[in-house]
């Protein structure tokens, strides 16, 4: 077997696997997109309407004419950005402290951050309401962003801790010998190295908030202040499901994010420019 033949065989295998992956991930998405453009009667038809013959925009029209979809979208964007930025900032600083500095009791704190995940959200929400009422953040988007911190922050801290630990200490020390302060070394040497991690954890902190339903439904009530998940859930009550409407709404809730993240995810690679660890 020649070398080039083997390589093209490997290439072929890669493409085959990619196609399988696309089918698995893509089919339900395709179905969502198609359903959003079908008449209600076609969504539940057998044999299925594979590509809508008479595409309709009625669901999208209803979304913007009858519901406040645009407003909910912006609300979601606001809450998620706020919670992501705070989570990443606090989380990276905390992770740095955990991985590099000597702090008494840091192991305890490092572990306790995981407590957030261990208690079912349905019960966490009642005492949270108590806290938020006390500090005047009930029915507030800032309050909701703060609540999301309980999930996003531990996650960022935990994953970033490992990332930061993988950055060689000597690079940092070299910078500090050159006269940089520790925080400068963190900013100029460590963070660039850990950039893929920051982007990856940031994406997830954001998407966690983008998807979260329970806290959003209980902590923010006013119709005008609501975020997408609880507002959209109203399209699908137990009694009456607006298939077309919910598919259109999910398409619009997913697509812009996907485009944005397709853009961001390239930083997973290019973040590595400066350091030279990659050899």
């Amino acid at each position: 077997m020649t070398r080039s033949f083997r390589r093209s065989l490997a290439q072929g295998r890669t493409y085959l696997l990619v196609i399988l992956l696309l089918l698995f991930v893509g089919f339900p998405l395709f179905w969502m997109l198609m359903s959003s453009g079908k008449l209600n009667s076609d969504i539940v038809r057998i044999p299925p309407v594979w590509i809508p013959f008479l595409p309709t925009l009625e669901h999208y029209e209803e979304l913007f004419e009858v519901t406040q979809f645009g407003r909910w979208f912006l609300n979601s964007l606001l809450v998620c950005s706020l919670s992501t930025i705070s989570a990443v900032t606090l989380g990276v600083l905390g992770a740095y402290s955990l991985s590099r500095l000597k702090v008494r009791g840091k192991e305890l704190l490092g572990r306790s951050v995981l407590l957030a995940y261990m208690f079912p959200g349905v019960l966490l929400v009642i005492p949270l309401v108590l806290v938020f009422t006390r500090i005047g953040l009930m029915n507030s988007q800032v309050g909701l962003a703060l609540a999301y911190l309980t999930f996003a922050l531990p996650f960022v801290m935990w994953v970033m801790r490992d990332f930061l630990a993988s950055v060689p200490v000597d690079l940092e020390e070299a910078a500090m010998i050159d006269g940089a302060s520790r925080l400068e070394a963190l900013r100029d040497v460590v963070l660039p190295q850990a950039f893929p991690g920051i982007i990856a954890t940031g994406i997830f902190a954001f998407l966690f908030a983008w998807n979260e339903y329970l806290f959003a439904a209980v902590l923010v009530r006013s119709h005008d202040l609501q975020t997408l998940p609880p507002a959209m859930a109203n399209f699908a009550s137990a009694m009456d499901t607006r298939w077309g409407l919910i598919m259109a709404a999910s398409t619009l809730a997913t697509l812009p994010m996907a485009i944005a993240f397709a853009f961001v995810q390239k930083y997973l690679i290019t973040g590595l420019g400066a350091g030279g660890v990659k050899g």
Binding site: L101, F119, A165, L183, L186, F204, L228
Partner: protein, 318 residues
């Protein structure tokens, strides 16, 4: 690396950042950096947690929480729980569900991350697409899959039927039989949450020094041994973290299962979070009992975590 003497902006940045070295010793810096997180944890985490533990020793209707109604009942709620067959059943279901879903997520997620780490045409597109399921709101995910699973007009059965794999379109009622419903719930959870693993592992793969591979290749290591000795070893830590986080997350996941099956059929998908919901937040609203279930779940996850830490420490020593 030198400090550039340049724009006023830079100077400000230097001065602010400078406190790290000159004014605050590292010992304090560590605390300062952790302090904001610690405040958040205390207020939004430790307090709710203690609140939950406290109510688990009380018999209290959720409507009476405000008036402080309800009475101290000691370990009654826990005794009730131990004798409740449904609790044991739900515990088993939850453990199975979380275990299977997390294992599959990690295996599939790592495999996909390795695939997407290779270079091929359209890689950026595929990487973007893989994230989609994670972005889709849970309600939408559930409804799309319900459309696909439907035994009367679902696409899955139609495809199977068209391929001649089943004799009638309605031959498989996915969410209506205990085993296939469980499998159906697992599949949706896998589809929805595996991108999480892909992206984290992919990011970790980026920072593996390439010279390790070069060196191994020179030493004559094959592809498999390079994978085991380098890739797997490098991503192991992050995989363990993910496994832990995901286990906790899936164990507590309520929405996917509840919306798909409500815990049926034959309680085959009745997980602990659903039991908590049925006990504490609806019907007789026995908040104390719900809290007791939650505290037990908490304890179990705690134990899992401790085993994990012990494991880690042993690794460290080696």
């Amino acid at each position: 690396m030198t400090v550039e003497a340049a724009s006023p902006q830079e100077t400000v940045a230097t001065r602010v950042a400078g406190i790290g070295r000159t004014l605050i010793p590292d010992r304090w810096l560590g605390l300062v950096l952790l302090a904001p997180s610690a405040v958040v944890f205390l207020l939004l985490l430790i307090y709710p947690l203690l609140y939950g533990i406290w109510t688990s020793f009380h018999s209290v209707d959720i409507l009476d929480l405000a008036s402080g109604g309800g009475s101290f009942v000691g370990f009654d709620n826990y005794l009730w729980l131990l004798q409740n067959a449904q609790f044991w059943h739900a515990l088993k279901t939850s453990t199975l569900y979380a275990g299977i879903v997390v294992t599959l997520q990690i295996v599939l997620g790592t495999a996909v991350a390795l695939l997407l780490h290779q270079s091929f045409k359209g890689r950026a597109f595929v990487r973007g697409l893989v994230l989609f399921p994670y972005m889709m709101p849970v309600v939408a995910v559930i409804l799309v899959w319900m459309l696909l699973y439907n035994a009367l007009f679902g696409a899955i059965n139609y495809i199977l039927f068209s391929l001649g794999l089943i004799s009638r379109i309605d031959a498989i009622a996915w969410l209506s039989q205990p085993d296939s419903a469980f499998a159906g719930v697992v599949l949706v959870s896998l589809w929805k949450y595996f991108p999480f693993v892909v992206v984290i592992v992919l990011a970790r793969l980026q920072v593996i020094p390439q010279d390790l591979y070069e060196a191994a290749r020179i030493d004559g290591a094959g592809a498999w041994s390079r994978f085991v000795d380098i890739t797997l070893r490098e991503i192991k830590d992050v995989l363990i973290v993910i496994a832990l986080l995901r286990t906790i997350f899936m164990f507590n996941n309520f929405e996917v299962v509840f919306l798909l099956t409500h815990g049926g059929p034959m309680q085959a998908t009745l997980t602990l979070p659903i039991l908590v919901y049925e006990t504490a937040l609806d019907g007789d609203r026995a908040f104390g009992r719900g809290s007791a279930i939650a505290v037990v779940m908490f304890g179990l996850l705690m134990m899992t975590m401790m085993v994990y830490f012990r494991f880690l420490r042993r690794e460290d020593r080696q």
